[in-house]
């Protein structure tokens, strides 16, 4: 039963190897990728169902005993993240079939995306700090490969920014890992939970914790360290942008949640207060920067930043309810944000441009696309009864409950400012009369193929369903929050399983 844990990592890797070795043509490699994504979704769904039954699953790789071996662990948070990854993976793979050029396919688009998915799932499931570092490196390598694929000149300088910032963050990460190993003599996260509390030199522990926080803050685009994100995401091909926007920063957020609930809880006054300050500044600066942009994808990129702020805020408030809010926010945000990036590609197909000034009239010509934008956009902005409303409500409620009135108020105001940006896109691209035709490299498309519209509508449906059937999701998230706040179950499962 525990072997189930390896499947979300193994399946995409096997698929990647098959698609490298067989060298199929365009249609077949696309079909294979969709098939692989479907299998992945089944495995992740099954994993989640098993985790709900057994609370925490542990798998020791190669059957090495507890302190030396590397284990995979799935608790509620990990399993939920893996499931949501496979949902986005499936949607993006279906969308890619029509969007990816033959050149990109020949440069290894599908294998790289599959390795990326495997690495992301690996990062979600690992129970070992050094292993986490290795998965992060794999994520980087795969994303670098995708990012520099087919370069019409504009992408390399932005790739340079992404590559250099992320390399820097991994250096911080490994430095912190070295220090933590020196202090405790272990790198297993469950083991660290106990050992970190026993270390006398608390200052050095906090120092290492802050180094780790820096590393993951770069990856999850927190306040002073987010500039690589808006510089790169708008230059990527649409399905890649959607997958990166949905998943990459969230892996950083996941790592922050995992480490600052399981390992570094000895000095909450320093670490979580700092997280709180960063979270608020991230929310405000992201949403403010988005207000001044006119390119759809740049607006969406800045909104990623502001939304990451909400998630980290939930972690910083550090109550079970706040952590449950963070999990709901993660689930909601990944679906909605990936969907919005897919929609931005459709807007570009329908009007020939990503620039809001050159779009318009879509509400008249593309009714279904309007719906496909309306639902995720206003879910992002937090309109009831969509998923974003509940996510924001939970975070704000948790802030108020913990007595952080200022934070709650800020979160609400940032939500209002998000509405502003979404209304801007809505009025410019959908309600405004069509601008005069411009010489655009892309021929405007009247009919959007179903293969592109399908994933968007399915993700919309998911957003609505999560919003309407909030009760089970919330119950799940509350259990996850309890699990994160008191990790004895996690620790027992890992240490007992050796």
């Amino acid at each position: 039963m525990n072997l189930l844990l390896i499947l979300p990592i193994l399946l995409p890797m096997v698929m990647a190897m098959i698609s490298v070795l067989t060298g199929l043509d365009r249609a077949r490699s696309g079909m294979l990728a969709v098939f692989g994504a479907l299998l992945h979704l089944c495995a992740s769904g099954f994993l989640l169902a098993t985790v709900v039954d057994h609370q925490v699953l542990v798998l020791w790789m190669g059957n090495w005993p507890a302190p030396a071996g590397i284990c995979l662990v799935a608790d509620y948070l990990s399993a939920a993240m893996v499931l949501i990854t496979s949902v986005i993976y499936l949607a993006v793979m279906v969308y890619s079939g029509k969007e990816i050029t033959p050149h990109q396919r020949r440069s290894g688009y599908y294998p790289l995306m599959q390795f990326l998915t495997a690495a992301i799932c690996g990062a979600f499931l690992t129970g070992d700090l050094f292993n986490l570092y290795v998965w992060f490196e794999l994520i980087l390598m795969a994303s670098f490969g995708i990012m520099i694929m087919e370069n019409p000149g504009s992408r390399l300088t932005s790739a340079v920014k992404y590559v250099t910032m992320n390399l820097l963050s991994t250096v911080f990460l490994i430095m912190a890992i070295g220090l933590i190993y020196g202090l405790t003599g272990t790198l297993n996260m469950a083991d660290l939970h106990e050992k970190v509390a026993q270390v006398d030199n608390t200052a050095l522990v906090t120092g290492a914790a802050l180094l780790l926080m820096m590393a993951f803050a770069i990856k999850s685009a927190l306040f002073p360290l987010f500039f690589w994100l808006p510089a790169t995401y708008h230059t990527l091909p649409v399905p890649v942008a959607a997958f990166f926007a949905g998943m990459l920063t969230k892996v950083g957020v996941y790592a922050l949640i995992r480490l600052f609930t399981l390992v570094f809880v000895t000095d909450v006054a320093v670490t979580h207060t700092l997280l709180m300050v960063m979270a608020v500044l991230t929310m405000v600066s992201g949403v403010a920067a988005a207000a001044s942009q006119m390119d759809i994808r740049r607006i969406l990129s800045f909104h990623i930043i502001s939304q990451v702020g909400y998630m980290v805020l939930g972690l910083a408030v550090f109550t079970p309810l706040a952590l449950a809010g963070t999990l709901v926010y993660l689930i909601h945000h990944i679906i909605v944000k990936a969907n919005l990036f897919l929609v931005s590609g459709l807007i570009q197909r329908a009007t020939g441009s990503f620039d809001l000034k050159q779009t318009g009239g879509l509400y008249q010509t593309h009714g279904l696309l309007s719906l496909g934008f309306f639902i995720p956009a206003f879910s992002l902005a937090g309109f009831p009864p969509l998923s974003g409303f509940w996510a924001k409500l939970l975070i704000i409620y948790a802030c108020l409950e913990a007595g952080h009135y200022f934070l709650g108020a800020t979160a609400a105001v940032v939500g209002l400012m998000t509405v502003f940006s979404m209304i801007k896109i809505w009025t410019e691209a959908f309600w405004k009369k069509k601008a005069l035709p411009v010489d655009s490299p892309v021929e405007p498309l009247v009919d959007i193929p179903f293969q592109l519209m399908g994933p968007v509508l399915c993700l919309c449906l998911l957003t609505v369903l999560i919003g309407v059937f909030m009760e089970p999701v919330l119950k799940f998230a509350l259990v996850a929050g309890e699990q994160l706040m008191s990790p004895h179950q996690y620790v027992l499962a890992v240490k007992g399983g050796g």
């Binding site: 490196e137 820097l168 250096v171 070295g178 190993y181 620039d355 050159q358 892309v442």
Partner: protein, 125 residues
């Protein structure tokens, strides 16, 4: 010995940051390589410096006899070196291609920056 190595790590890190912040991307590569070495030294020092036997089991025995050196930090360093090597290779090729496109590797030069504003005008594939 630990104090000496700790100071060395600090020194190399400082030099590496100086190089990385210079704005010249070739210097960034040097800085990154230096930083990698500093980190490896740090892990090595953090794993305790001891004069002891290598962790090998003698023929005919079933376990280790007596205290041996800690092998884990070296395994970590080895992994970090391999990954760092791949990253530097990738970075060098990326910078070579970037130089090919922009004609400069100075991050403050216009040629490096205008490339981005081109893409902002909606010139997407």
């Amino acid at each position: 010995m630990e104090a000496l190595l700790a100071m060395l790590v600090g020194l190399i890190t400082a030099a590496a940051f100086y190089l990385m912040l210079s704005g010249m991307l070739v210097r960034f590569v040097f800085g990154f390589t230096l930083m990698g070495n500093a980190v490896n030294l740090l892990i090595f020092t953090a794993g305790r410096l001891t004069h002891s036997d290598p962790p090998l089991i003698e023929p005919g025995q079933t376990g280790l006899a007596g205290p041996v050196a800690n092998a884990l930090p070296q395994a970590l360093i080895l992994t970090a070196i391999v990954i760092g090597f791949a990253m530097v290779t990738f970075l060098l090729i990326l910078l070579y291609r970037t130089h090919h496109q922009t004609g400069t590797l100075d991050a403050d030069q216009d040629a490096f920056l205008t490339e981005i504003s081109l893409s902002e005008k909606g010139k997407v594939s």
